[in-house]
């Protein structure tokens, strides 16, 4: 198992190097002088600033040297300087990545648990009402633009049923309150954005869970469990679900790239102070270092998420574990 982890980490690292190289190429491929691209069009790039950029990134040196400089900078955590905010990009992202991760993880876990439950219940009566609802919900949930859902929810909860806050992550007035109060307030603010993001995936997992359960319930070993005298509940949750959950885990693990993209839209709609919002704002300001920094960090998040999913999948399915045992 340890060697497997090492291999996967190394591979993830290679992927990240690829992302960095891609970033590097994109700046160079964009029309215009790379130094001006990096400086952005705000802040009136003076000759001094441009010269500083050229020196910092080694833009007058050969291409490969530039690449090496760039890679080493990033490896040390230097994602460049945001000329708009006049702050290191890594600091900007660091302040906001927590909010995005909170949003994404909450949405994902809610979607997996609620979706799987719905799917399992629907599988018990494949022609029943719940099963039909799951089918319809799955198609509808996927077709709705996530930012539109968010907007509709804001309209609903701001004017019609004002129970959840529709903006931001925390009430500013509480900034000096104790941790528990702040945490509760954040959770309160988290409900609508997380729900908006979760709906799409909830539909996906419910449909997948139902299909997976139906397939597993038809398997021979489920018949054996019944022949042993196991109760229906034990058959459903212990025997069937353990097997049916595996494909759900695989699919869920692959959604993180999509979740982060969706989070960007949700953060914009709800003014949630995350990485996605930062990326969007930096586009308006032509703040490319920040934008590309977000790309790198977001990609890193996806790589890590993939690795963790892969590991948990290997732990959950004994058929895969066997490669490491004797």
């Amino acid at each position: 198992m340890a060697s497997y982890i090492a291999r996967r980490l190394f591979y993830g690292l290679l992927l990240m190097v690829g992302v960095v190289v891609l970033n590097f190429l994109l700046i160079r491929l964009a029309p215009g002088d790379p130094a001006e691209v990096i400086a952005g069009e705000m802040g009136g790039a003076t000759a001094e600033v441009l010269a500083a950029i050229r020196a910092n990134y080694g833009l007058d040196k050969p291409l490969l040297t530039q690449l090496w400089i760039y890679i080493t900078q990033i490896a040390q955590g230097d994602l460049g300087l945001s000329y708009f905010f006049d702050q290191p990009v890594s600091k900007l992202i660091g302040e906001r990545i927590g909010a995005t991760i909170l949003l994404v993880l909450t949405a994902q876990f809610a979607a997996v648990f609620i979706g799987t439950t719905l799917g399992v219940l629907a599988a018990r009566k494949p022609n029943g009402l719940l099963s039909g609802f799951v089918s319809v919900f799955a198609t509808v949930g996927y077709a709705v633009p996530v930012f539109w859902t968010g907007i509709m929810l804001i309209i609903l909860f701001a004017s019609v049923i004002p129970i959840f806050p529709v903006e931001g992550m925390m009430d500013i007035r509480l900034r000096n309150a104790d941790f528990l109060t702040k945490a509760v307030n954040v959770l309160y603010h988290l409900v609508l954005p997380a729900f908006t993001l979760a709906v799409i995936y909830l539909a996906l997992y419910a449909r997948l869970a139902r299909a997976s359960m139906l397939e597993v319930l038809g398997a021979d070993y489920v018949r054996t469990a019944r022949a042993k005298g196991a109760s229906e509940r034990s058959v459903l949750f212990r025997h069937a679900l353990r097997n049916a959950a595996l494909p759900i885990l695989t699919v869920a693990g692959l959604q993180f790239g999509s979740l982060i993209s969706g989070a960007l839209l949700v953060e914009t709609v709800f003014n949630w102070p995350g990485m996605g919002r930062l990326a969007f704002d930096s586009i308006l300001r032509r703040d490319y270092p920040t934008l590309l920094g977000v790309l790198i960090i977001a990609s890193a998040c996806v790589v890590i998420a993939n690795l963790l999913t892969d590991l948990s999948y290997r732990l959950a399915d004994p058929r895969l574990k066997k490669e490491d045992e004797g």
Partner: protein
């Protein structure tokens, strides 16, 4: 003494896209304590459905028990509560299935699965159940049982998996063990071992065995009595010796004739060509008024197309055939 298991006039219908189809049409069987009843017939004749009905494992849509009775030691099973059926399953009546490769849950160890069977019917702790599981693995002839108990199904061979299934089935000393084609999916050498094991188990646990198979050789080896099924009905019954040596129903005769005989030669010194029963089992939804076997029967006459034959003749060795009843054979 009444039989341990009595199936009387069992009729089971299935709802299909062609309309309702009768899978079992008035099946009656009896199993005495400690004996081995062989149920033989081609695929689709209803032998597995009979077994599943006894276990209460027929999915009730699309299946439906239309009429009949299944009595285990005088207790009626049809209509019994779900709880009672679950108590009996794995406890008094156990079943092993055809495909050992897929009949074990891939995410639990062999020991866990046997222990679960034990804990479902006896009030013992998990540790105690696991200990019993290891002992059972030993009893069914698996070497290094304590190691194997921790193995997952994919780490075991087909023969070993079937032994695990047998261990699971006999863990609570069932009075009846239903074996549905237990060796069909296994190598020939392993088959013999499994049959030996079943015989031992029967002696040690004093259990009755219902052996469902299409292999006449297995019947010859293991069965005390035989029931031959075709298209959802029992067409001949009797002691194994009687049915094998003097089969009455043309289908049974055909089956026995189909057994390849080693050592025989015809006039040219070559072994005789393999016998076969021409035709195929008719689709159940297309069965008409007469005998279901009529199309393939060399002794067919008018009455066969008009009237379904019922079991008739001696009480020990009845057959459902007009030709036999009228002495034409």
């Amino acid at each position: 003494m009444s039989a341990l298991l009595e199936i009387e006039n069992l009729r089971v219908d299935f709802a299909t896209r062609y309309g309702p189809v009768t899978a079992l049409n008035g099946v009656s069987l009896a199993v005495e304590p400690g004996e081995t009843l062989g149920v033989v017939g081609e695929s689709g004749c209803g032998k597995s459905i009979t077994a599943l009905s006894v276990m209460g494992l027929i999915p009730q849509p699309p299946g439906r028990i239309v009429e009949g009775s299944i009595r285990l030691a005088d207790e009626e099973l049809i209509g019994a509560s779900g709880r009672r059926l679950r108590q009996l399953r794995g406890g008094e009546v156990a079943m092993i299935f055809q495909e050992p490769m897929t009949s074990l849950n891939p995410v639990f160890t062999a020991g866990d699965q046997i222990a679960e069977a034990i804990m479902l019917h006896q009030k013992v702790s998990r540790d105690e159940a696991l200990k019993q599981a290891v002992a059972l693995l030993d009893r069914v002839g698996i070497p290094e049982p304590d190691v194997r108990a921790k193995n997952y199904p994919h780490q075991l061979s087909g023969g070993m998996r079937q032994r695990v299934m047998i261990a699971m089935a006999v863990s609570c000393r069932p009075r009846i063990l239903i074996a549905d084609e237990p060796t069909t999916a296994l190598d020939v050498t392993v088959q013999a071992q499994i049959f030996d094991l079943l015989n031992e188990i029967q002696r040690d646990f004093d259990a009755a065995i219902v052996l469902i198979t299409h292999d006449m050789g297995a019947i010859a080896e293991m069965a005390d009595r035989v029931a031959v099924m075709y298209a959802g009905r029992v067409v001949e019954q009797g002691s194994a010796d009687a049915v094998l040596d003097e089969p009455k129903h043309p289908y049974a005769r055909g089956l026995i004739a189909c057994i390849p005989a080693l050592g025989k030669e015809d006039g040219d010194g070559r072994p005789p060509p393999l016998a076969e029963i021409p035709g195929v089992v008719p689709p159940l939804h297309l069965l008409g008024e007469g005998c279901a076997f009529a199309e393939r029967c060399p002794h067919r006459f008018q009455r066969c197309d008009r009237e379904t034959p019922l079991l008739a003749g001696t009480a020990q060795h009845p057959a459902a055939c007009h030709a036999v009843a009228e002495g034409r054979l």
